[in-house]
Amino acid sequence: MTQYIDVDVRPILRAGGEPFSVIMAALERLEPGQGLRLYATFKPFPLFAVMADKGFAHSASEIGGGEWEVLFSPAEPAPAMASPNSQPTDDWPEPAVRLDNRDLDPPEPMVRILGAAEQLAPGQTLSALLRREPVFLFPHLEKRGYRWLGGFTPDGSTYELTVRAPS
């Protein structure tokens, strides 16, 4: 039976903060075989890919009021966590570039993000504010080896995206 450690990032999200580092820190503290129970104010799609990379399967359920409970369970408990090749879980550095693309005509936000991303040094990050989830951008980031994390602010008006260049 998997034991879950609770991480509630709803207060951080409501305050307009970025919960990624808190989640990654909690992940670091997990014992082999333990899972993470995450509470968030939106369904954290972008996190699913990041967690899958780290060997966690997810199961999300809405708990009312648009809030979500997500269980991240170790897919193959001990070996995945103990693997010497597992990705470092350091915090991403502070963004080197900050873009506010909220008032640009689509698809200009995507053009600017890809343009700025190409200028990043290895491992650097950029952050961008958007009106919508940039669904057509993600396949291009993926093809170029970038990683990203994003989600809507609690009021749903702004999508915050962080993109990290391959190191």
């Binding site: 799609f45 972008p46 699913f48 890919a49 809405e62 008032d103 005509d105 689509p106 698809p107 200009e108 995507m110 053009v111 993000i113 890809l114 343009g115 700025a116 991303a117 190409e118 009106r131 919508r132 989830e133 940039p134 669904v135 057509f136 951008l137 993600f138 396949p139 291009h140 980031l141 993926e142 093809k143």
Partner: protein, 447 residues
Amino acid sequence: MTGTRLSRWTMSYFAIAVAWLIAAEALMSFGFGFPAADLASPDTLVLVHIVCIGWLSMAMCGALFQFVPVLVGEPLFDERWEMPALALLTAGLATLLAGFLSLGGRLPVGLWLLPVGAALLAAGFALVVLDLGLTIWRARPPVGPAHFVFAGLIFLAATVTLGSVFAWSLSGHGGKALDAVLASAVPLHATAGLGGWLTLTAMGVSYRLLSMFMLAPEVDGRSSRLTLGLGAAAIGVAVAGGLLTVAAETGLPIVLGAAAALSLAALALYGRDVVRLYRNRRRRRLELNTRMAAYGIASLVAAALLGGALATTGSFAAHVGAFAFLVAFGWLSGLVLAKLYKIVAFLTWLETYGPAMGRVPTPRVQDLVAERRASKWFAVYFACVWGSTAALLVNQALVFRGINVVMLIATVGIVQELIRTRQLADVAAPLRLPDGTQAPRLLYSRN
């Protein structure tokens, strides 16, 4: 979350769709089918199914295969179903049309073509409904416009089911019960198709596309759900209630009255939502697609007013052809053509320049189109639609044909613009194909 990939076959759906549209307009220009022939004649059935399945449904399916994943933020349930669905729909439609032609004595082949065509169409639409429906279902709870698409798919299934019953009946295999359905339920089949499937889906899609292309805040979910609820109730009452009256052999006027009242309420709410979208937009200068969409929506309003006026004066049955023409060509075709103009440009831009974006200078989406030239064709198209409707209302079949020739030319003009966009013909030379890009194919996308 891996985002949304380009749908490989959306352009193929669009290409086949516009080919059927041109075929339909050419037939009307030659005086084939209504109004030269009776509204219920086999020739008119050929025409109506070319327009509703070949043109409108094909274009809608192609758009939805790309749009639904964007809407729900999840990949399509299974991309591999797109092409078989297109093949089945095309083969099914061709067979059904041959069946109608043989029904009218123009082909000697045989009536067995009708149920075979219907079965092929049902198989193709089943793939579409399942693929899109499961995509939405998997991403539940669905967001605003996805509700509309979901309801539209249910009515598509109802339309196909009724149509299959008719096909069996017309081929002489119906039996008494199915023959009774054929005798009275043709208007219900048309209502489910034009109203439930095409109109509700177009409304849902328009909410998102208008807000996206005009930088307007999304319509509040509660408001759009009420619009959908009333609209779906109107069509549901008409179709389900209508079938009950077929069985009970009484009560049709009450059912139609209730459905009409619900439709008007739904249209009023839709109108309010759309006006709000246009008014609250942050992009002040409208692009061609949103200007022309407004003409399409105005045609819907005009159709509602016309329908109301005809019903009150008791002449709806006499002029149902003009009413249906305005709905099919003004509202649905007008909106679809306007949106195709933008969607083709956007998808072509993304396919061609996405891989090189940020690395070399790339053109803007608007550099792929020549709006001033295209807007002339659109203006002529809408003028012809309204002129044709008027000609039908005053029973001027020859004037109708004449206007249709001009409408055909305007449509070919619009299609020519779509092809030029696909060929990057209007992009200035230095930016046209920078390093790392390759020219798109006309009929499908590399994804």
